[in-house]
Symmetry: C2
Subunit: 600 residues, 2 copies
């Protein structure tokens, strides 16, 4: 029984939370839950419209998914639900496929949620969650920055009251052209509301915290002042709605939103639709997970806790399945709401339940108020949220540190703007991988000699070692594989023409090439072909090829391909053995001085 319960609580971290819940945690969780709830309502509606969905889909995305995630997550403060980046990716997906499935618009997003959920759980089941590491820091930051610009451009139309027909799938350039052409349609009332909302939110952010004089600690290392700075969105939503209703202003509004809780939705089981959406679902799943996990990791680290990536895959995956079954759309961890949750002193996931109560109350009682909620105010809410996500400042530091990452960042950023969200992400991953492989494609090769009479061997460029002109011993510091096979072949052949460790004046030809394989972890078939071809080439020039210090797994590999049949030299256990055998009798060795100015 004891073990059974322990096993269960490792699947359901909430059990452990409930068991150790203290009465004094409750007020903290309630305060934080209310604070998050107030931010959630306007964001949920705004992101639903951004994704091209009805307002209630955003609110539904905060119910089942958020609660499920709170039950399953190993993070205590991460809040999942509708987020701007996922909304953009959903809009792009729908934009690509809606033409073919026009009647099933919402159906597409529920299938997409289900796929995202299943993909995340599959990654966990196959234990290949490590694939998310391909989305490196510069790819993600370039992607987020690009998405932020695309989203802000997309919000300029509602902010100014222009009723464009463009979908979010359209490129940033097309969208700007369309905006400029429609400039005559701007609605001054909308602009006033939108820009007013932006200014008010900026003011709250700037001076809100100063309203409370003391920095009363309420939990974590956040404080109420931080949370106060985040009250802008709910403030402009309430004020904007009141102004529009009170003065009967003529601007675009959300309109009627159905009252009531979400109902169980069964996703369409259309094989063709599933196949078409799958590539988009994979990208949304990876981005959603990387974003959520990095927020969770940051918050956990502040409290000296750890979160478990495996458990987070399951939690976010199940949350997305919940989103699918409750008529919502793909969810991810929200940066702004999780920050508010943490800063308002949330101690346990109970704050998410409090937030869920606020969403339920909103759905049951407050939806009529949305009838007068202006689009321009929601656009301002979105703009402020994504503006906070974007970060261009670290680029300068990164440029000095590692230029490849800045290149990756810009390529991803430009790709998102010019070629679209998915293409931009793939371009970024492609470039980061190619830049990395460029390094291992030019592996370090050290020509070594014997250190005095010891069994130790060192780089001839850095140590005074003994070398023999008829023997070139080269240590290759990389596995032999497809990206470096070509380079290795020419550089090793080059060593025979121009041996670094040899005495150019000795006139004695090289007879042996010894490859020291202590850093070779595997050889792939391209590497094997190279090794055979090089052996063959050198044999024609009278040079025998020897190998030594082969690791166990590589030795097994070479035995499978009968290395002793085609190798023109021998396989030695150690470099010492090899030198003993190959230099026996060849008494003439030379001292090498360390050349100056070599940093290697």
């Amino acid at each position: 029984m004891g073990n059974g319960t322990k096993g269960l609580s490792s699947y359901l971290p909430i059990i452990e939370v409930a068991r150790s819940y203290r009465r004094e945690d409750l007020p903290h969780d309630v305060v934080a839950g209310v604070a998050v709830g107030m931010l959630t309502v306007p964001q949920a509606v705004a992101y639903a419209l951004l994704a091209g969905l009805p307002a209630q889909a955003g609110l539904y995305a905060c119910l089942a998914p958020m609660v499920i995630h709170a039950l399953l997550s190993s993070s205590r403060q991460l809040i999942v639900g509708p987020v701007a980046i996922a909304a953009l990716m959903v809009a792009s997906t729908v934009g690509q496929h809606a033409a073919a499935y026009s009647d099933a618009y919402l159906g597409i997003t529920t299938v997409l949620s289900l796929q995202v959920g299943l993909i995340l759980i599959l990654l966990r089941a196959l234990q290949v969650g490590g694939i998310v590491n391909l989305l490196s820091y510069p790819v993600i930051s370039g992607f987020v920055n690009g998405a932020a610009v695309v989203i802000i451009i997309s919000q300029l139309a509602p902010l100014t009251g222009i009723a464009t027909t463009s979908r979010l799938g359209d490129g940033a350039v097309d969208r700007i052209v369309l905006l400029v052409r429609s400039v005559a349609e701007v609605n001054p009332t909308a602009i006033a509301l939108g820009v007013g909302s932006l200014l008010l939110m900026a003011a709250v952010r700037r001076w809100g915290p100063a309203l409370v004089r003391t920095s009363a600690k309420v939990g974590g290392d956040g404080d109420v002042r931080h949370a106060l700075g985040r009250t802008g969105p709910v403030l402009v939503t309430v004020l904007g709605t009141a102004v529009v209703a009170g003065f009967g202003l003529d601007v675009g509004v959300v309109g009627s939103v159905p009252v009531g809780l979400p109902e169980l939705t069964l996703p369409l089981l259309d094989a063709r639709l599933w196949w078409d959406l799958a590539p988009n679902a994979v990208l949304i799943a990876l981005v959603a997970f990387v974003e959520s996990y990095s927020i969770g990791k940051t918050l956990a680290a502040r409290q000296r806790r750890r979160i478990d990536s495996h458990q987070e895959l399951v939690a976010l995956g199940t949350a997305n399945i919940g989103a699918s079954l409750s008529g919502a759309y793909p969810v991810a961890g929200s940066f702004s709401r999780s920050s508010v949750n943490y800063a308002s002193g949330a101690r346990t996931p109970a704050s998410a339940f409090v937030c869920a109560v606020i969403i339920v109350l909103t759905l049951l009682w407050l939806t009529p108020l949305f009838a007068n909620l202006p689009h321009a105010v929601l656009a301002a809410v979105v703009i402020v949220a994504v503006y906070e996500l974007a970060d261009f400042r670290s680029l300068v530091r990164d440029w000095r540190f590692y230029r490849g990452d800045v290149l990756t960042h810009f390529a991803t950023f430009a790709g998102v703007l010019l070629a679209g969200v998915e293409a931009g992400l793939l371009i970024g991953v492609g470039i980061s991988v190619v830049l990395f492989m460029r390094g291992s494609a030019r592996p370090h090769i050290a020509v070594v000699g014997r250190l005095g009479d010891t069994p130790h061997f060192r780089n001839v460029k850095r140590y005074e070692v003994r070398t023999w002109p008829h023997l070139v011993a080269a240590r290759v510091d990389e596995s032999f594989y497809f990206a470096n096979a070509d380079t290795l072949e020419s550089r090793l052949a080059e060593l025979i023409d121009n041996p670094e460790g040899g005495d150019p004046d000795s006139g004695q030809a090289v007879e042996h090439l010894l490859i020291i394989m202590s850093a070779v972890n595997f050889i792939d078939t391209t590497g094997l072909e190279m090794l055979k071809r090089l052996t063959h080439r050198l044999a024609r020039r009278g040079v025998a090829m020897h190998l030594c210090e082969i690791k166990g797994p590589v030795r097994d590999q070479l035995e499978h391909v009968a290395v002793d049949e085609w190798l023109t030299g021998q396989v030695f256990q150690t470099t010492d053995d090899a030198f003993n055998t190959l230099t026996e009798g060849a008494g003439k060795w030379i001292w090498r001085d360390v050349p100056e100015n070599t940093r290697d």
Copy 2:
């Protein structure tokens, strides 16, 4: 002047060939050129139809492109022109885009050729030709095998006289379904011609060489017997045409082909078309180059010559521009024709000029004969050619040697069959890269101790070394970068909880973590964030982080981010310095015995 000429001949290898041309080379080159020409004519027509183009486009692809390549290539026997794989990729590209540009069908292929040519020259200019190494051996072989199956399936309709309307862009499965549905339409005459051609070509291949008793060497290490085995295609073409004309058979024939040489064609300058075709052009360029270069490399190696990858990029690139301007379509090195050229004793690229004369004669005088050339015979010619390209036998050996490559091969193969030519290729590259990165994502970390009183440090698992319980010294055998940052962070943190080199009974807590960075070639921004976060995490647990043996470039990197401000410990020059400082006064060290059964 001397230098000027030398410079020119490095751009135009043909100058060197012409200068050293000997009269006795001529008969060899003429024989080889005629042999290649006889194989080229039927293949050129067949591949043009495979690409969905008129017959003359195939013949045009053998003229300007082949001659230009012969002038520029550093290979002496490589023959470029229309090939089956490029034809399939062209057909797939046209299939994707023809709907949008229906009037410009041939226009698409000339734009595609121009793009392929420009991309290859751009790769040379930017010196990033190494990117072709991403197309590893298993990706290429899986791709070629998949393409061979797709091509053979596509030829079953013409082989049996079924007039399908399916385009080559369609999936292999759809195509088989269509064939089975149309089985009632088969034409027995076509089947007889097609199957007869297959059998005749197999017979010539099998017994043709035996017709010549002596293995008369005509050049290289090939012989006329090999070339005789390749006369099947021209034989069945002539016989098939004669039979159809003589008996007035009712089968599908090529029909009228315009008489005359190609005219200068200017590719369409339509920005949208260029943008749409660009991704396909990149893939065609890479595949065409890899195929051509590997054929050239193999033939050159047999003659102890080398070919220059840079020059080959220029040669193939210019050949494709020539294809574009002469109304042809993308060209690549032909495996079968280059083999025949080599085996028939070609000594210089002059054989290609002889072949070009045969093409010119064909275009001027023989095109009327194509009116009766049956599709079924050409289908048989294509099937035989691609059957020779496919190779599944090496898979068994590869399975024992390196399973990842077999996985890559199958994924590429299945991708080509199920998801299409381009998708299959991208899937293959993606999988080979992910499999490779999995390795470097789990880098080797060795905990080291001091070897006696020497300044040498060795793995505690393999040597009897001295360690101190308050110091963990770990050598990380990989750069710190995005794919391994997460793993490195948890494994290094784990070492503090459970130090391998420490004495678990000592009860003394770890106070110092020393990272030996001798194998770290670079750190990217993801790696830097990890290092900072880990330093921070360990500081909370009272463990100071030290670094040593930092390579020059990495030291520069770390100086740019003010490492001394955030590092909780010190940066040491050598491991010896670090141990001297960190163990000074801490006299208590422990001997470690080498544990048994560790192979590491």
